[in-house]
């Protein structure tokens, strides 16, 4: 061995050698019996300096461990796979945890919304639903009427059949909106209902507007539903 290599070995023994140099030297250390023997003697020197009494210094344990492991299979990439899988699993853990937490939160919110509110709100909720349904019922009826041939009291502008299917919701849709209005946010509920009841007298604080034509549509407001 040359002096530079010996110096590197000494520094490596002290964990003071840069990692890049360690890689190369570790290979030589594991294969060269002379370097390994020197490495073992460095350990003996340290044990004597630390006055480790009662310990066999000639390396009994190392010989026995080496003999015991001679029948063991060498570790391989296959043996490392469980650690890799566990690492991958650990990587997914936060995402899975966040997804689970979000799911639980969503279910909790839906459940809470379906439950009674404190301070008598339980009695208020059905009443609110009934009132909303009552308010929306004329609008739904108006929509049905809009689909049907218009009576004389209504001014139904001519619209194309394609536009009719797009703008006027089906009856089932109106019923759906009304029935679920109790579960929707107040703002969106207001928007939906106001869209349905835009010209219903007494249900809107603003007068019905007829100046919102879309292309090809002129005066689509329902002026006088019954």
């Amino acid at each position: 061995m040359n002096e530079e290599l010996d110096s590197q070995l000494s520094a490596m023994f002290d964990n003071e050698l840069p990692a890049a140099e360690c890689e190369l030297l570790a290979r030589r250390l594991s294969r060269d019996p002379d370097i390994k023997a020197r490495w073992g003697r460095y350990a003996v020197i340290g044990a004597v300096i630390r006055a480790e009494r009662g310990i066999a210094l000639e390396g009994i344990v190392a010989g026995r461990v080496s003999a015991a492991l001679s029948s063991e299979p060498a570790l391989s990439v296959d043996a490392l796979q469980p650690a890799g899988r566990r690492l991958q699993y650990r990587w997914w853990q936060p995402i899975a945890g966040a997804g689970l937490a979000a799911g639980v939160a969503a279910v909790s919110i839906l459940w809470l919304r379906s439950q009674a509110l404190p301070d008598g709100s339980q009695a208020v909720a059905p009443a609110l639903v009934a009132r909303t349904a009552a308010l929306a019922a004329p609008a739904a009826q108006a929509l049905r009427n809009a689909i049907a041939p218009a009576p004389d009291s209504f001014v139904v502008p001519p619209v194309s059949s394609q536009r009719t299917t797009m703008v006027v919701p089906a009856t089932e849709l109106a019923d759906y909106v009304v029935a679920h209005s109790a579960f929707s946010w107040p703002v969106s509920r207001g928007n939906l209902l106001s869209a349905l009841m835009v010209s219903e007298p007494g249900t809107s604080s603003t007068p019905a507007r007829s100046d919102q034509p879309a292309s090809g549509v002129q005066g689509n407001a329902i002026q006088n539903p019954k």
């Binding site: 010996d6 110096s7 000494s10 520094a11 490596m12 023994f13 002290d14 964990n15 003071e16 050698l17 840069p18 990692a19 360690c22 890689e23 030297l25 570790a26 290979r27 250390l29 594991s30 390994k36 023997a37 020197r38 490495w39 073992g40 003697r41 460095y42 350990a43 003996v44 020197i45 340290g46 044990a47 004597v48 300096i49 630390r50 480790e52 009662g54 310990i55 066999a56 210094l57 000639e58 390396g59 009994i60 344990v61 190392a62 026995r64 461990v65 080496s66 015991a68 492991l69 063991e72 060498a74 570790l75 391989s76 990439v77 043996a79 490392l80 469980p82 650690a83 566990r86 690492l87």
Partner: protein
């Protein structure tokens, strides 16, 4: 530079199937581990058995070692657990041989306990190693002796030794290396002589 770079490079080699790299780790830490285990068991032979078991456990568990902690810290925990388990199982083991112990007290101590390290040859060799190393250290120049003692006895890093000795880190590395080489020259003779004697006895 990682403080555990050399151990980690050896560990990675073991994980890739290089058993020889594990031999290097055992050679490096066997004395420390036996001394550690002797906090739990007084008998040196039993401590060696436990240390051996700890090393084998560590080898088998190495695929799970990711290097989050230093290798010796990880090995230390395995050794402590192995020693504690050994003490518990020993305390639970039946003691039927105690009835005969009073009659064969001396033979009991020797029975099944005599390991290589406790044979007369082993004890002589250990004493010879110790006296040789101590003599070699005494004959070292002051700066070399101070450097190697600060490293091995106090466990200081090269940087800390450099600060203590008011010299560059490179000089510390050189001094420690030269100290080891000087001691190793004498020690190698003892090992070779000891092995020769062992072969003669065998």
């Amino acid at each position: 530079m990682s403080a555990d770079a050399s151990d980690l490079s050896l560990v990675r080699r073991v994980q890739r199937g290089d058993k020889g790299a594990f031999d290097a780790l055992v050679l490096k830490y066997q004395h420390k581990l036996v001394k550690l285990v002797m906090r739990y068991v007084r008998n040196p032979a039993e401590a060696e058995d436990i240390a051996q078991e700890a090393f084998i456990k560590a080898y088998r568990a190495l695929p799970q070692f990711r290097g989050d902690s230093a290798f010796y810290t990880w090995l230390y925990r395995i050794a402590i657990n192995t020693a504690k388990n050994a003490v518990v199982s020993r305390d639970r083991s039946p003691v039927e041989y105690d009835l005969d112990r009073s009659n064969t007290d001396e033979s009991y101590d020797m029975q099944g306990r005599m390991k290589d390290s406790e044979t007369p040859e082993g004890l002589v060799l250990t004493d010879e190693i110790r006296s040789t190393v101590n003599a070699a250290i005494d004959s070292l120049p002051e700066d070399l002796r101070t450097a190697i003692v600060l490293r091995e006895l106090e466990g200081l890093s090269y940087e800390e030794i450099a600060a203590a000795m008011a010299c560059p880190v490179g000089t510390v590395r050189s001094r420690i290396f030269r100290a080891r080489e000087a001691i190793d020259r004498r020690l190698r003779e003892v090992f070779e002589g000891g092995l020769g004697r062992a072969e003669e006895l065998g």
